[in-house]
Amino acid sequence: MNLAERRARRARKRLPSLRLHIDRSIPGWMIRLGAALLPTGIMLIALWRTGLQYGEAQTAIDGVFGPQMVPSRSATAIYVVLSLALVLIMFTLRWPTIWPPLIAIITTVILTAFTPANAGWGTLALAAGAYLGLRLTVWATVVPWHSRVEVAALAAAAKVDAGVLGITLAIGVIGLALRGDFDLGLAAGIIGVLALAWWLRAPKFDHASEQLHRRRVEEKRQARANIQSFTRKP
């Protein structure tokens, strides 16, 4: 069987695909690729910002304990983070769940803790990138590899993301502006976030719960009225 016949045979074995016509869309693999690369990229940038050096630390350790006897903490940390990045990428590409970006965010926070405190603007960018990576991963759980997602669906969600990022960046800018007065800035930021969250979760803004609550109140009132009408003496 020559090459042309083999190609024809392979083409015959492959099932034809359906055609679905929707508005402007992008392929699902782009979402999944972004979800795999962005959180781990943020994590690796945070690692780089820590300034951990493999070579110098390893030379210092070798000088004390002998060559290749004890791996340095920085080398270990670098190995751990790189391996973690690889695992998170492979996992997200194959079975996207919410865990990889959350692990990447926590790892980024821990690595940023070992970063000099005056690198504040970079942290703003990392926080925004970490959030976007999380959102992309959530989309990756909904959009399979060989599918397509409407641009309109992403745009509708982007409005929410823009609001959240706007508030985050505003809090960050305010915090950096008050950097001299640390306690006040931190306290104001945290209190502001918690107040905002409480305001959003207030029952009066939950229409579904409000209607359910009203219906239950009405049912209780009706049941009470029925019982009274049955027990009323003629």
């Binding site: 055609r19 929707i22 919410i98 926080a127 309109a152 509708a156 960050g172």
Partner: protein, 433 residues
């Protein structure tokens, strides 16, 4: 049907991660660390409060399109309020499923289409849809919808002329009968005989031939008549071009026409050509034991024939013994068969013995090359047996036309050739030379 929106763990996990980031910021005394937790807490809170209400609704509004080649439907998706996105997975018979994720803000339509070379009863689309709220915090239970099945009618390709029966019947019709009658074609000018009508008198000829008017001359015309044809479809087997599917364990692909599809298309084309010419056409199905379609004329009858062709299908194992259908002696028989056994040959012999003209349409599709040695040997033996049957048909004087994909376009020319050969063998009066 009430479908539930089930909360996922996303919101709780993201909230936990946000709180951890805030705590790390407090522990290390750094506001920039706490900043990582801010968007997480905010978006988790937004997702928690945006629980969708109601269910996603979707329905099919199919186009009235039963033409061969394309099956299309329009899916209307109406997401529940509060939905961020709807994942729609569409399955079609013999096709890879397609998945799209559409916006949950407003209802929209999705056009679904797949190509199919198959005819007859055809399953349509099956859709599984699922709604997601913000951050996939709430996920809807999957909703299933199946579009109604379709009956795909065969396409009647245009043909030139097709062979018709030599023996005409009746006194009306589109064809010229050798008998005298009330047709439009002039036969001769003859002396008026008892029974001739006065309005048939040709006064010019009378004035020319009998100036004294002692003998009147009339115009005599040929009678018009009609021809009949019966399409006999051998629907006992339905085989595709892939030999590995012949044993029945593997499904037939929708992008490969089978022998029954070819037979339906060929029969539809010939029926349309005969109906256009004004002849009567009947239909017999060898596999089904039900009343055949008696020969009739007209577009409505053609539609009936197309419907019956689409419903022709094999039942169980092909039977080796076929009871010959009862046919009138003045019809031409078109037999659509794969010639994979001797039963069609027996039928042809019996018809030829009765003097009925027969045309055999070979409906076996082009077979793909096989690698398996056993299959190759089996196919070689089958090919040789078919060649013997075709040789016997040629010896009986029965033309056999192959209607596979490659030869379908040339089939019209072959049929026209048969008509011209038949005409050249006829006496001008209509009888044989």
């Amino acid at each position: 049907m009430i479908v539930a929106w089930r909360p996922s763990r996303n919101t709780a996990l993201i909230t936990a991660a946000g709180v951890i980031a805030l705590l790390v910021g407090v522990l290390f005394g750094r506001a920039d660390l706490a900043l990582f937790g801010v968007p997480l807490v905010l978006v988790a809170t937004l997702a928690e409060r945006s629980r969708p209400e109601g269910n996603t609704e979707f329905s099919f509004s199919g186009l009235e399109n039963n033409a061969t080649g394309v099956v299309s439907e329009t899916l209307t998706v109406a997401p529940a309020p509060g939905t961020e996105a709807v994942q729609v997975r569409v399955h079609g018979p013999g096709h890879r499923p397609a998945i799209v994720v559409v916006s949950g803000e407003a209802p929209q339509e999705i056009a679904a289409r797949f190509d199919s070379l198959r005819t007859g009863p055809s399953p349509s689309f099956t859709v599984v849809a699922r709604g997601y709220s913000t951050l996939a915090g709430y996920v809807e239970d999957p909703l299933l919808l199946t579009a109604p099945n379709r009956l795909v009618l065969p396409a009647a390709a245009p043909l030139l002329r097709v062979p018709t029966s030599r023996r005409l019947r009746g006194l009306t019709g589109p064809r010229r009968s050798p008998r005298l009658g009330d047709g439009a074609e002039l036969r001769d000018i003859h002396q008026m005989m008892p029974g001739d009508r006065a309005r048939r008198v040709d006064w010019r000829a009378t004035a020319r031939m009998s100036p004294e008017l002692d003998q009147l001359f009339v115009r005599r015309t040929y009678a018009s008549a009609e021809a009949g044809a019966v399409l006999v479809v051998d629907s006992r087997d339905d085989v595709g071009p892939d030999l590995t599917t012949w044993r029945g364990s593997e499904p037939l692909r929708v992008d490969q026409a089978t022998s029954l599809d070819i037979a339906r298309h060929a029969a539809a084309a010939i029926a349309a050509a005969l109906t256009e010419a004004g002849d009567r056409v009947g239909l017999e199905d060898l596999a089904r034991r039900r009343r055949p379609l008696a020969p009739a004329m007209g577009r409505r009858h053609l539609r009936r024939i197309l419907q019956a062709l689409a419903l022709a299908a094999p039942i169980g194992e092909p039977s080796a013994n076929i009871r010959p259908p009862q046919l009138a002696s003045d019809v031409i028989v078109y037999l659509f068969t794969t010639l994979l056994d001797d039963a069609p040959l027996e039928l042809v012999r019996s018809w030829c013995t009765l003097g009925m003209p027969v045309v055999v349409i070979d409906t076996l599709p082009g077979i793909y090359p096989v690698e398996n040695l056993h299959l190759r040997l089996a196919w070689r033996i089958t090919t040789m047996e078919r060649a013997d049957r075709l040789a016997e048909l040629a010896a009986l004087g029965v033309p056999a036309i192959r209607w596979a994909a490659l030869d379908g376009e040339q089939a019209a020319e072959r049929l026209e050739t048969l008509v011209r050969v038949e005409q050249s063998h006829r006496h001008p009066s209509g009888g044989p030379r």
